[in-house]
Amino acid sequence: MWPNKFDYARAGSVDEALSLISDDGKFLAGGHSLLPVMKLRLDAPEQLVDIGRIPELSGISANGGLTIGATTTHDEIATSDAVQSMCSALASACGQVGDQGVRNFGTIGGNIAHADPASDPPTVLVACGATINIQGADGARSVSAQDFFVDLFETDLEDGELITGLSLPNCSDCQCAYVKFPHPASRYAIVGVAVCLKMDGGTCAQADVAVGGATVKAVKCAGAEAALAGTSLDDAALDAAAEAVKADIAEWLAGDIAYPEAYRQQMAGVFLKRAVAEATG
């Protein structure tokens, strides 16, 4: 409620932001992950560099794939026709973040920088093969979402680096879905499952699956993908995938006192089936 003292500066460009940031500073965009943490005095950055009004960081463009600026809000993504068309699961996930007020302010870049394992967008970004675009003092680089999320609240981002945006392949020929089992207290995911299926007639040619919420980070689930690929997504395949997904996430499990790891692991299987049903329904 009463954050520690901090300095504040507003940057007009990415270059200015990178020049302003100090060793104990943090970038501020929508503030909906950072400020609560500061108010609880769980984090006390000495400086905030506000990137919320840098024009080049905001917006969605579609040219073959999707490019989304870091300060694009959850609501802008959830309601974007381009996102709906190229990766409807991401629109769905961003539409399930927090409440409308949070979605109006919270940004995709801030969300992934915070790397809350129970947040919704990272799970879809990992499933759909997104790339995170990063800029630092030494120039720009890109990293896959799968490699970007390292562990609980831990990313590949180095000190002083800024997420500028992310890129997604055009997935308009896939059937994708994000299905969430919300924690009744926080409405973060007890488990969230994203699936992206390429269907060839009645056969699943390729399956991409990721799980969040039940895990310390969004986890790509190769076992479940293999169990689904090449099948007609019949009950036997779904049962096998539900078993496989539990193994896929076994080493990354997370839980809390009310919804322990074992329960979340089981639910990952249940919600994988529900995600496939929604994607193909």
């Binding site: 409620m1 009463w2 609880l40 009744p184 207290a185 926080s186 329960y263």
Partner: protein, 786 residues
């Protein structure tokens, strides 16, 4: 025919200011030169304080002073409900801990600074050295062998043992019974979570020696009483103001250390001092509710007659005994063991146990939900044991209708009740008989539907002061009110009670309007300031409408009588010839000769032409001590479906038939029932405090502590019956707590009914999906229900 505002669902007169943000709460009040208080709180549940180093904090910019428990010369925070015949111990509760902390959040030092941020920075800089001690949270464990001793003068951590009933008779009833069912019931700790956290601000005038304390209080007159006692100031030099108060649910009844500390610091430093709780502090230090471990048994015959109920209750008190805490698991609990049933034998041993948790006290329903739950749970178990439908068991045992008094085995004299009518009405609304067929069909498809039915009555409208005295309540339980009419015919109703969101400004105005004919929009209800209002004991226990409402009705009737005599005098008619309708007094036989109540009020103020012996002015007061409690009642029914794959519970229907006598404002009654049901259902399904083994609060924010949300609920289906209270001037009963009291067992029993074919017999509340899912796995592993 006169028109009645009583019974009309007019809009709440409080709402324009509340919903536009114009209401003024304690924290909204700004005083020049105010100092902000931050409290250094213990991070340990149980520890010795070895030393406090505040030098760094004192040196920080803007810091005026740092004080510890050794500096603060206040008397201890008192416990004000001293249960007789219970060997009660009241351990000292210093405003700041001295030598030892007893729960996480216990105050250790205060920092006063010119700015709230600087106060918090300095509080963080106070260095306290602790020696951590083993902690205990579970009340049964705390009362057991080898538990860490929390207060040296409370042997075995047992603060009291209350067992007023005849044990031999109870034992005999159980021995004679065909069937005895038992269960260990956990009434988990709950966080009251009023929308406004607590706040307090004090200002002291050394010249007049007057202290003004603004605080979030449900009972400013009790706060004045206690602050006077704690500070040593004369009570007539203490003014307590409860401005707008954003809910309480009981949590703003007690006097806390924080209110005493701002008062002390304001006197000490000669500057106003303000403290506003954060939500995190609220969850740590504002009282929690419930926290019972109950060992319950019920005895019955094979044909479903309930013959006895008995329980041993370990009630967690937390680190200190809060203001009313001892009364909650005793008087407000054990006396309710009969419910609406013909149970001839009750026994309750309630053991108040000190623990290293946050102090507990009254939370909406306070003792009565814990009683209703155990009764209703055990009745479903009796039904299961003897193979009878649970509705049939209840139907068989309901007390027949009575209009004026029914004495029950627990010693209470119920005022009026017609339980069967409400019961059958609710069953009809639910379509109970059809439901059982739907349930069977659903089960055949692998879907798990369940129904829970609760018949309840409860004791509220606290209460006769003589009873209060007999049960050790350190105060009266009457109320007083003044109806003051201005020369221009506008009304101020001054009351000692202190509503904080219930809509009483509307309902009480409706009572006055109905009695004496002023338009309701001309009546202002004034409350919350000990200097402006007459004495009263506060708003809790569903007592404001029954007790303050009665005082107002009587005061208004006195005014009406004065008006009748004055009107007769002014119209030169005999008093016997005066007729009254809709705020107008007329002479029988000559209807064009009339005086409105406003005209009479003006003439009473002018006093130009008064009858012999009549005093001027137009104002009457009434002290009202109720002759008995009031006993609202009803039947609630819930229908749920459990997703066996996930354990998620879907509350599909909720039917509530409540009888609170005649409804003054049906919209407000419905609002009270809605809110009460939501809080009670939340106890069954999602709310629950969790501590770790060291006594750290794990549910310290709403991210972890599950508050109910609108989308968890269906539209409620409400019904009513109307059985007036025979002893109340307008027949009304309280309705503030009925929803909370009835709904928890209703939903719990519905879920257990749904899970019956899966072999699930018991799950501790709250019924989270994880617990339900685990219970299903365990039940199925044991071969299911049969």
């Amino acid at each position: 025919m006169s028109t009645r505002i009583f019974g009309s669902g007019i809009k709440r007169r409080e709402d324009p200011r509340l919903i536009t943000g114009e209401a003024r709460y304690t924290d909204d009040i700004k005083l020049p030169g105010v100092l902000h208080m931050a409290v250094v709180r213990s991070p340990y549940a149980h520890a010795n304080i070895l030393g406090i180093d505040s030098a760094a904090a004192e040196a920080m910019d803007g810091v005026v002073a740092v004080f510890t428990g050794e500096d603060v010369d206040l008397a201890g925070i008192p416990t004000a409900w001293l249960i007789p015949d219970s060997d009660l111990k009241t351990p000292e509760h210093p405003a700041l801990a001295k030598g030892k902390v007893r729960y996480v959040g216990d105050g250790v030092a205060i920092v006063l600074a010119d700015d709230r941020y600087r106060a918090q920075d300095a509080a963080d800089a106070v260095n306290v050295e602790y020696e951590e001690l083993p902690a205990v949270i579970d009340p049964e464990e705390a009362a057991g062998e080898g538990a860490p001793l929390i207060h040296d003068d409370v042997e075995g951590n047992i603060a009291f043992k209350w067992a007023p009933f005849d044990k031999a008779a109870s034992d005999a009833a159980f021995e004679a019974a065909d069937v005895v069912v038992s269960e260990r019931i956990l009434q988990q700790r709950l966080l009251p979570t009023a929308m406004e956290p607590r706040a307090a601000m004090a200002q002291y005038n050394p010249a007049t020696q007057e202290l003004t304390l603004w605080c979030t209080s449900q009972n400013p007159h009790i706060h004045r009483f206690i602050i006077s006692a704690v500070t040593g100031l004369n009570e007539n030099k203490v003014r307590v103001i409860a401005p707008e108060v954003g809910g309480g649910f009981g949590s703003k009844i007690p006097c806390y250390p924080d209110e005493a500390l701002v008062s002390w610091a304001a006197i000490k430093l000669g500057a106003p001092v303000k403290w506003t709780e954060t939500r995190s502090e609220n969850y740590l230090i504002t009282i929690h509710g419930r926290d019972h471990v109950q060992h319950v048994e019920m005895a019955a015959s094979n044909d479903g007659a309930i013959q006895g109920v008995r329980a041993t209750v370990y009630a967690g008190m937390g680190g200190y005994l809060s203001t009313a805490a001892p009364g909650i698991p005793t008087i407000l609990h054990g006396l309710l063991y009969v419910g609406p049933y013909t149970i001839d034998s009750v026994y309750c041993e309630s053991i108040g146990v000190m623990t290293n948790g946050t102090p507990t006290d009254a939370y909406r329903g306070a003792g009565r939900p814990e009683a209703t739950f155990l009764l209703e749970r055990m009745i479903d178990k009796v039904a299961d044991a003897i193979g009878m439908d649970p509705v049939e068991v209840r139907r068989k045992n309901l007390i027949p209708a009575f209009e004026d008094g029914y004495e029950v085995a627990a010693g209470l004299n119920y005022d009026s009740g017609d339980y069967s009518t409400a019961f059958e009405k609710a069953l009809g609304m639910a379509g109970y008989d059809d439901f059982r067929a739907q349930q069977a069909a659903a089960r055949a498809q692998g879907r798990y539907l369940g129904i829970g039915v609760t018949a309840y009555t409860e004791m509220c409208g606290l209460g006769p002061s003589q009873v209060a005295g007999a049960v050790g309540f350190q105060g009266g339980l009457w109320e007083s009110a003044t109806v003051r009419v201005t020369p221009t015919g506008k009304v101020q109703a001054l009351i000692g009670a202190s509503p904080h969101g219930q809509g009483s400004e509307t309902t009480l105005a409706q009572i006055i309007a109905d009695e004496i004919g002023f338009p309701v929009e001309d009546i202002e209800v004034v409350h919350g300031d000990t200097t402006e209002t007459p004495m009263g004991w506060g708003t809790y226990g569903s007592r404001t409408t029954p007790v303050t409402g009665a005082a107002l009705a009587h005061a208004a009737r006195k005014l009406k009588e004065k008006a009748r005599v004055l009107a007769a005098h002014l119209m030169e008619a005999s008093v016997d010839d005066i007729e009254y309708a809709d705020g107008s007094f007329s002479v029988k036989g000559s209807p064009d000769q009339a005086q409105s109540i406003q005209e009479v009020a003006l003439m009473a103020h002018l006093a130009w032409n008064m009858p012999e012996g009549m005093d001027p002015g137009f104002e009457e007061s009434q002290f009202y001590d109720p002759p008995n409690f009031v006993f609202p009642f009803g039947t609630h029914i819930a229908i749920v479906e459990v997703d066996a794959e996930t354990g998620v519970i879907d509350l599909q229907r909720y039917i509530a038939v409540d009888d609170c006598g005649p409804q003054i404002n049906p919209e407000i009654v419905a609002g009270q029932i809605h809110g009460g049901v939501v809080q009670g259902v939340a106890q069954a399904l999602c709310e629950g405090v969790i501590y770790d083994d060291d006594g750290q609060l794990l549910t310290g924010t709403m991210q972890d502590y599950c508050m109910p949300k609108a989308d968890m609920f269906p539209n409620f289906e409400l019904g009513e019956t109307v059985t007036p209270s025979p002893h109340h001037p307008v027949g009304v009963k309280g309705v503030g707590e009925t929803g909370t009291i009835a709904s928890t067992p209703t939903v719990y029993n519905a879920v257990l009914d749904a899970l019956a074919p899966l072999g699930v017999k018991q799950i501790d509340m709250p019924l989270t999906s994880a617990k339900v899912w685990s219970a299903i796995q365990a039940g199925s592993a044991n071969g299911g229900g049969n």
